[in-house]
C-alpha cells in the first residue's frame, strides 16, 4: 500500500502533496489530523506536485493549508494531478476586469 510519501495538511483540504514520485494506478493513503483517506492515483504525480483527494467540481474552490488556493477550471476526479491545467488562481486577475 502506501509506500509513497504524501502530505495532507488539513482535513479541509481537497488536495495533498506528493513527497515522492507516484506512478499512475497506485493506491495511496493520505493522513491528516483525525482523517485518513484512500486515494487511487490516476496519473503520475511528480515530487512536490498535488493530487485531488476527492472529486472537485468545475468552479469549486480548491483548498490547501485549509485555505483557498484557487478554483477548478475543469472537473477534477479524485486521484488526478491538480496544477495550472485545471486550477486557476483567483487573485491579481487584472485580465478578468479588462474583459
Amino acid at each position: 500500500m502506501s509506500e509513497y510519501k504524501t502530505l495532507y495538511l488539513s482535513r479541509k483540504d481537497s488536495v495533498a502533496v506528493a513527497l515522492s514520485e507516484i506512478p499512475a494506478n497506485t493506491s495511496v493513503v493520505v493522513k491528516s489530523d483525525l482523517v485518513e483517506l484512500d486515494v487511487s492515483i490516476l496519473e503520475p504525480i511528480r515530487f512536490g506536485h498535488k493530487f485531488a483527494v476527492k472529486v472537485i467540481k468545475q468552479g469549486e474552490d480548491i483548498i490547501k493549508y485549509g485555505e483557498v488556493i484557487g478554483a477548478a477550471s475543469a472537473f477534477i476526479p479524485a486521484g488526478a494531478h491538480v496544477h495550472v491545467h485545471n486550477l486557476e488562481g483567483k487573485r491579481g486577475r487584472g485580465d478578468k476586469i479588462a474583459e
Binding site: 502530505l7 502533496v17 513527497l19 511528480r46 515530487f47 512536490g48 506536485h49 498535488k50 490547501k64 493549508y65 485555505e67 483557498v68 488556493i69 484557487g70 491538480v82 496544477h83 495550472v84 486550477l87 486557476e88 488562481g89 483567483k90 487573485r91 491579481g92 486577475r93 487584472g94 485580465d95 478578468k96 476586469i97 479588462a98
Partner: protein, 385 residues
C-alpha cells in the same frame, strides 16, 4: 543571546565593517567599481537609477540610497555622483551624515573626469578602510538585530520546510527582543487575512489590507494577470499552481508572533518584533529594501536555488529540499530539506538557523559574501522622465 558586533555612532550595531562607495547615479557606477578593485575593504553596487526621477519615485530611490549608507554594517561612505543628476550626491551624503558615521561626497564633473576621480576617491577610501580596521567588535545583544526574511525560487517544499523553519527562527528573534521583517507583499496576496489577524491593532491590520489592495490594483489598472509573472515558470515546475498557494507558503516565514507595524519600502522599522515591509516579490528589490531598512542579516529560502547576496548584509541561504542543497551547494548555506526527509523537525531547523545567525553575526562568511554576490535593485514606483 549575544554576538560580537560593531557599535556605530548612532547606537546601532553592525555585523560587518564595510566602506561603501555609493554611486547615486548610474553614470558613476563604473568609476565606483574601479575603486573597489583598487581598494580592499570597500564595496559598491551597480544600478541604473538616480536621474530623471520625480515625486514619490524620486523619494523612494533617495530613501533607498541613504538607507544603504546608514545600514550599521557600513563603517563609512563615499557618496559618488556625476554632478548634474536629479539625485544629488551631496543631498544623499547629508542625509547619511545625520547618523554620525564618516561621509565624504565627490562628483566626477568637479574632479575633472574618471581618472582623477578614481584617484581622489581611492585616496579617501584607503584612509577610511584603515580607520574602519581599528574598530573593535564588542558584545551586543540579539535585540539589536534586524533580520530580514525572504523566499525566492520557491517550490512546493518552501511552504512545508524552509519557510516554516524561518518562521520558527523569526519567533526566536522576536523572543530575544529583536526585529524580524516579513516582506514581498505580492507573495502575501491570498494570505493577508492570516497575517492581519495577528496585527497589534486595527490601524496595523488596515495598513496590511491596504498594501495588498494597492499591489493587486496595480495589475487591475494595467489589465494584466499577475499569474503571467507569478508564480514564475520555475515555481510552476516545482509544483506551485497559483499565487494564493505560493502566498500561503510564503506567509509561514512570519512565524506566530504579533504583527507590530507595516512599513514602507526601505523604511527603518520604528518598532521591535515582527514588522511587514511593503515590497514587491522581486528577490533583489525586496532584499535591497530590507537592507536599506537596516537589516544586518537576511534569511533567504529557496527551492530552485539562487546565488543572491547583498554588498552590505550577509544573506544566509536555506534550501527547501535536499537534492537542490546538494546540486547548488556553491550557493546554499543551510538545508531545511531534512524536514521533508523526516530527519529533523521544523523546530530543530529553526533553532539551527538561529545558531547560524549568531555565527554569521560574529563574522562567519556566507557563501554569497565569499562569491562576491553584490546584488542591488530598487523598487521603482514611477516611470523615468
Amino acid at each position: 543571546m549575544q554576538f560580537w558586533g560593531y557599535r556605530r555612532p548612532d547606537g546601532r550595531v553592525g555585523v560587518r565593517n564595510h566602506v561603501l562607495i555609493l554611486p547615486t547615479i548610474t553614470c558613476a557606477t563604473q568609476t565606483a567599481q574601479r575603486v573597489t578593485e583598487l581598494v580592499s575593504g570597500t564595496v559598491t553596487f551597480i544600478h541604473q537609477h538616480g536621474c530623471a526621477q520625480v515625486g514619490t519615485d524620486y523619494d523612494q530611490t533617495a530613501r533607498t540610497y541613504a538607507g544603504m549608507g546608514m545600514n550599521p554594517n557600513v563603517y563609512g561612505v563615499i557618496v559618488l555622483g556625476l554632478g548634474c543628476e536629479t539625485h544629488q550626491a551631496h543631498r544623499i551624503g547629508d542625509e547619511i551624515a545625520k547618523c554620525g558615521k564618516p561621509v565624504e561626497t565627490i562628483s566626477i564633473q568637479d574632479h575633472g573626469g574618471t581618472l582623477q576621480t578614481i584617484a581622489e576617491v581611492s585616496k579617501i577610501a584607503v584612509k577610511m578602510v584603515q580607520d574602519a580596521s581599528m574598530v573593535q567588535r564588542e558584545l551586543c545583544d540579539f535585540s539589536e538585530l534586524i533580520v530580514g526574511t525572504e523566499c525566492g525560487g520557491s517550490d512546493a517544499c518552501s511552504g512545508l520546510s524552509a519557510n516554516p523553519a524561518v518562521g520558527r527562527t523569526s519567533d526566536l528573534v522576536v523572543q530575544q527582543g529583536g526585529t524580524a521583517i516579513l516582506a514581498e507583499t505580492t507573495e502575501l496576496i491570498g494570505a493577508e487575512h492570516l497575517i492581519a489577524n495577528r496585527a497589534a491593532n486595527d490601524q496595523v491590520a488596515k495598513k496590511a489590507y491596504a498594501v495588498i489592495k494597492m499591489m493587486e490594483d496595480r495589475s487591475i489598472q494595467m489589465g494584466v494577470d499577475i499569474r503571467t509573472g507569478n508564480p514564475s515558470p520555475g515555481n510552476i515546475e516545482g509544483g506551485l499552481s497559483s499565487l494564493e498557494e505560493k502566498s500561503l507558503g510564503a506567509a509561514t516565514k512570519s512565524g506566530t508572533t504579533r504583527l507590530e507595524e507595516v512599513i514602507d519600502y526601505a523604511q527603518v522599522p520604528t518598532k521591535k518584533g515582527l514588522v511587514w515591509m511593503d515590497t514587491p516579490g522581486h528577490d533583489i528589490e525586496q532584499l535591497t529594501g530590507m537592507v536599506a531598512g537596516g537589516a544586518q542579516i537576511v534569511l533567504f529560502t529557496s527551492g530552485r536555488g539562487t546565488p543572491t547576496g547583498s554588498p552590505i548584509s550577509p544573506v544566509i541561504k536555506i534550501s527547501t529540499n535536499t537534492p537542490m542543497f546538494e546540486k547548488m551547494n556553491d550557493n546554499m548555506d543551510l538545508n531545511a530539506g531534512t524536514i521533508v526527509d523526516g530527519l529533523e523537525t521544523v523546530d530543530e531547523v529553526g533553532r539551527r538557523i538561529m545558531e547560524e545567525i549568531q555565527h554569521v553575526s560574529n563574522g562567519k562568511l556566507t557563501k554569497a559574501e565569499i562569491l562576491k554576490q553584490h546584488d542591488f535593485g530598487i523598487w521603482r514606483i514611477g516611470p523615468t522622465f
